[in-house]
């Protein structure tokens, strides 16, 4: 990979993140009404609101506020304080970002557990009964609303069978077994959808390789079908499958927002909704900014991994 390409990508990432920070900062000025009023409640007099605005620095020019806000985040990891409970937001973010990442990765694993066997099996006999069944199921999986599936899974596995907790979170250090029990339903909810998408990609990636000349050659020279599939087909399809995995991780980072909310999973998505409903705008800003940053970084890493994995792509 040429270093020029890398620098160019990093440059455009920084540019995008700069834009993201401006839009995120703009949330508070764009919202009608003052954050000071959220903190004080509706009964506060105009004088006390003005005093608190001054204390929060909201009377300064917007550019000054923006520079201060960004400097705090970049140099001190300081996102300010919550309007509702006055706690530092950075502590909340530090707790929630890992939870979102864990859920996204767990969902990706569930998705792969579905997609690889299903995709490979249906590609080996295209047009067969299994292929048809898999394609119907993956079509349903793609169309099913994640919040609805979450509710159905809660109904079956938490309320009726009582195998798993319906919501909440235990920290990994406290009780690993309970942590896992809480993780399963949210990860499966997000994983089924992502698995359905990846099944299609795995199938078509394999089908494409199966029609290459070297596969015919391998068969012609008398290799068993098993060896042909494992050594020649899977290995060559692995590159395109790997790139889909990266893309899916980024997609999942967005998709788990809904799943977090259903299962009260303490991630950035549920924080964003909660702060929106409570009108705790500085917290919303922090949650959105961190999600967008993580999302952009995952996307960049995915792009870079294409280049590393596939020698035929060269962005010189």
């Amino acid at each position: 990979m040429s270093s020029r390409y890398l620098l160019q990508r990093l440059g455009s990432l920084l540019l995008v993140l700069f834009g993201v920070s401006i839009l995120t900062f703009a949330i508070i000025p764009l919202i009608p009404g003052s954050p000071a009023r959220v903190r004080l409640g509706v009964q506060a007099t105009d004088e006390t609101v003005a005093a608190v605005e001054k204390q929060l620095g909201l009377d300064r020019p917007l550019t000054t506020q923006y520079v201060d806000w960004l400097q705090g985040i970049v140099f001190r990891g300081d996102f300010g304080r919550s309007l509702i409970n006055d706690k530092p937001i950075s502590a909340e973010i530090a707790r929630r970002l890992p939870a979102t990442l864990v859920l996204a990765v767990a969902a990706l694993l569930v998705g792969l557990l579905i997609a690889l066997p299903a995709g490979i099996a249906s590609a080996l006999r295209p047009g067969g009964k299994l292929d048809l069944g898999v394609s119907v199921l993956s079509q349903i999986g793609v169309s099913i609303p994640d919040f609805w599936m979450g509710i159905l899974l809660i109904l079956v596995f938490a309320e009726n069978l009582q195998w798993l907790p319906s919501s909440g979170f235990t920290s990994l250090n406290e009780d690993p077994a309970d942590w896992l029990r809480h993780l399963i339903l949210p990860a499966v909810t997000a994983g089924i959808i992502s698995g359905s998408i990846m099944t299609r990609f795995t199938r078509s990636a394999l089908l494409e390789v199966l029609h290459r000349d070297y596969v015919r050659t391998a068969r012609a020279k008398g290799l068993t079908e098993r060896v042909v599939v494992v050594k020649h087909v899977l290995r060559n399809a692995a590159i395109s499958i790997a790139t889909i995995i990266g893309l899916q991780l980024a997609t999942l980072f967005s998709a788990v927002v809904v799943v977090e909310i259903i299962f009260s999973w303490p991630g950035l998505g549920s924080l964003a909704l909660q702060s929106t409903l409570q009108r705790d705008y500085p917290v919303l800003q922090a949650a959105v900014l961190m999600s967008a940053m993580a999302f952009a970084v995952i996307n960049l890493l995915t792009d870079l991994s294409y280049v590393l994995l596939d020698p035929s792509i060269d962005y010189a």
């Binding site: 455009s12 540019l15 995008v16 993140l17 834009g19 993201v20 839009l23 949330i27 764009l30 919202i31 009608p32 295209p126 079509q139 349903i140 793609v142 169309s143 099913i144 609303p145 919040f147 609805w148 509710i151 159905l152 809660i154 109904l155 309320e159 009726n160 089908l207 494409e208 029609h211 980072f253 967005s254 998709a255 927002v257 809904v258 909310i261 950035l268 998505g269 964003a272 909704l273 929106t276 409903l277 009108r279 705008y281 919303l284 949650a287 959105v288 999600s291 967008a292 999302f295 952009a296």
Partner: protein, 294 residues
């Protein structure tokens, strides 16, 4: 008047229609969407009950002939509410995609046709919007605009406009250098006219596909926003809201959550089928790959 079909020339439109009618995925998708559209248009006449009329004598009635989908905690008929909800979902989805498509296609066409700094500025801005996870961006826009159906449409439109811009830009770039565009220019035609008359019609395929797929996303997004309590407000029946209400009574009355969810899934599936099928039909490269596999 008879017009015998020429043996050598087949009209592209007729050819397209013939293939359209033979494509199973498209047929299935169209049937689903047409039936849901009929429900959306005439649901208020088909519904056996008033969707907001409460009847405490019949709370949590199980599905039966009287109430095919059961009743909810206020004794409201779930079947009637699902029928009314179709109108809400489709209205929000179509208006949101119309706004999003118009804005996205305009920006993408301008960026792709004129290139240079205009392209840079527009597409960098789209990249910035793209950098937000979709659902979070929608929630954030709702935080700024406030709750309600109208604002949900705007939020959904903002989230999906960048996709239209990208798709359109790509398609426009692929035709803008072709000879007939140069010829139009040589004739002294205005840029706006060239884009509208010559470039966009030849870039329309991917835009149509994207419209169908976006309608699927928009139905999901509206349901999600209403589920969170940000979109449609009570007592209006909306599939997302009904799911949220049904969630509290899962054990007691699972039908309250099951039927609106099924309705969402059917609509999303219909638009996905149609979009996937159209992509098959309209993208010649993909078709070659598919027929090579057959």
């Amino acid at each position: 008047m008879t017009s015998p079909e020429p043996t050598l020339y087949r009209s592209p439109l007729k050819d397209f229609l013939r293939r359209f009618l033979r494509h199973r995925l498209i047929i299935l998708g169209s049937i689903i969407i047409l039936s849901l559209a009929v429900i959306a248009l005439f649901g208020s006449k088909l519904a056996p009950y008033d969707p907001v009329a409460m009847n405490f004598a019949e709370r949590f009635a199980t599905p039966s002939l009287r109430h095919p989908f059961g009743t909810d905690e206020f004794g409201r008929d779930v079947f009637s509410r699902v029928l009314y909800g179709a109108a809400v979902s489709f209205k929000v989805a179509f208006i949101a995609v119309a706004i999003s498509g118009t804005a996205g296609v305009f920006l993408g066409a301008v960026a792709g046709f004129f290139g240079r700094w205009l392209d840079e500025v527009i597409m960098r801005f789209m990249d910035i919007l793209f950098a937000f996870p979709a659902v979070l961006l929608a929630i954030t826009v709702m935080a700024i605009l406030g709750r309600g159906v109208g604002n949900a449409m705007i939020a959904i439109a903002i989230v999906y406009a960048p996709i239209f811009a990208r798709v359109t830009r790509g398609a426009v770039i692929s035709v803008r250098g072709l000879e007939y565009v140069t010829a139009a220019r040589a004739l002294g035609q205005q840029d706006g006219f060239i884009i509208w008359r010559h470039v966009l019609p030849n870039a329309i395929g991917p835009i149509i596909v994207q419209t169908s797929l976006s309608l699927a996303f928009a139905i999901l997004a509206e349901a999600a926003l209403s589920f969170f309590g940000l979109g449609t407000q009570p007592p209006d029946p909306s599939w997302g809201r009904m799911l949220a209400e049904g969630r509290g009574f899962l054990q007691q009355a699972p039908w309250m959550g099951i039927f609106p969810g099924l309705a969402i899934m059917m609509s999303v599936m219909g638009f996905n089928f149609l979009g996937d099928g159209l992509r098959d039909l309209l993208d010649p490269r993909l078709k070659q790959v598919l027929s090579a596999n057959r």
